[in-house]
């Protein structure tokens, strides 16, 4: 029988979601780099220019979705890398919930930042 090298849980959906977010991120990360370094230049950034982009609801929604998928993909990748290195038992649970908490903080802070540009409440 073939050895199983995957660090994902057998029967879990982590593997599938890592791939689905990857497909989305391939396109949106390339777009993000292109728009903010080649169309607009990083050294010309001002609050007003960032705000002008973010007041467009389509752009705002895309960036919020980008934030959520990138956070999931990155943090899930870190978790899988650690499991791959042999993380298990109680430590695995502690790491899992620490990463979930860090992800929530990142997503909330990212949305507050997007809201600051869009003119929405930053709560």
């Amino acid at each position: 029988m073939a050895e199983r090298y995957s660090s994902f849980e057998r029967g879990g959906r982590g593997w599938l979601w890592q791939r689905i977010t990857a497909g989305f991120l391939v396109v949106v990360l390339a777009f993000h780099f292109f728009l903010l370094h080649f169309v607009n230049h990083a050294d010309e950034v001002t609050f007003a220019l960032s705000s002008a982009r973010m007041t467009d609801l389509t752009y705002y929604s895309l960036m919020v979705l980008f934030l959520i998928t990138a956070t999931f993909h990155g943090v899930n990748g870190v978790y899988n890398a650690l499991v791959n290195q042999g993380l298990s038992g109680g430590k695995k649970r502690v790491v899992k919930y620490t990463l979930i908490a860090a992800s929530l903080v990142l997503v909330v802070q990212g949305i507050r930042t997007a809201n600051a540009w869009a003119g929405f409440p930053t709560f």
Binding site: M1, A2, E3, Y5, R19, A22, G23, L25, V26, L29, A30, F33, H37, F38, H41, A42, D43, V45, T46, F47, A48, S50, S51, L67, A70, T71, G74, V75, G77, V78, A81, N84, Q85, A102, L106, Q109, G110, R112, T113, A116, W117, G119, T122
Partner: protein, 140 residues
């Protein structure tokens, strides 16, 4: 039926001289992934200065609000521009090798997985070199 493939432990980095192309791709994908997730947290932290700037209409109009000031100061540093080129290299490789991994997962082009890794490296190098003038513009 799936076949057994004994690649040995890629985690045992001491035997790096024996690594095949696919194992290097695994190592580079992990490394670039760690860099990108680290950058994501840093990126949001820096951009969060926009929260303090929001509502300061006069400062925003004069372009001396805290967000604009912080980004402009960072972008004036050569080391930041060089790090951005490094970030581009890491992101482009992760994207290209990620496409390669999606194809491998779907069983497409398995026989050429080593060649597609080399292609990812070459294409990353070409895109990064071509982007250097844009990334360094205005810093000198």
């Amino acid at each position: 039926m799936s076949e057994s493939y004994d690649r040995g432990l890629v985690e045992d980095f001491g035997r790096w001289r024996e690594f095949s192309a696919g194992m290097w791709a695994w190592v580079f994908h992990k490394f670039t992934g760690w860099v990108l997730v680290g950058y994501l947290f840093t990126h949001i932290a820096v951009l969060s200065t926009a929260i303090s700037a929001a509502g300061q209409t006069q400062a925003i109009a004069a372009e001396n609000d805290v967000y604009t000031t912080v980004i402009t100061a960072l972008e004036s540093l050569l080391v930041v521009r060089i790090l951005e080129v490094g970030l581009l290299a890491v992101a482009v490789f992760h994207i290209l090798n990620g496409c390669r991994l999606l194809l491998v997962d779907l069983g497409v082009g398995l026989d050429s997985q080593d060649k597609s890794f080399y292609a990812s490296l070459v294409l990353t190098g070409a895109i990064v070199v071509a982007s250097v003038p844009t990334f360094l513009a205005g810093v000198f």
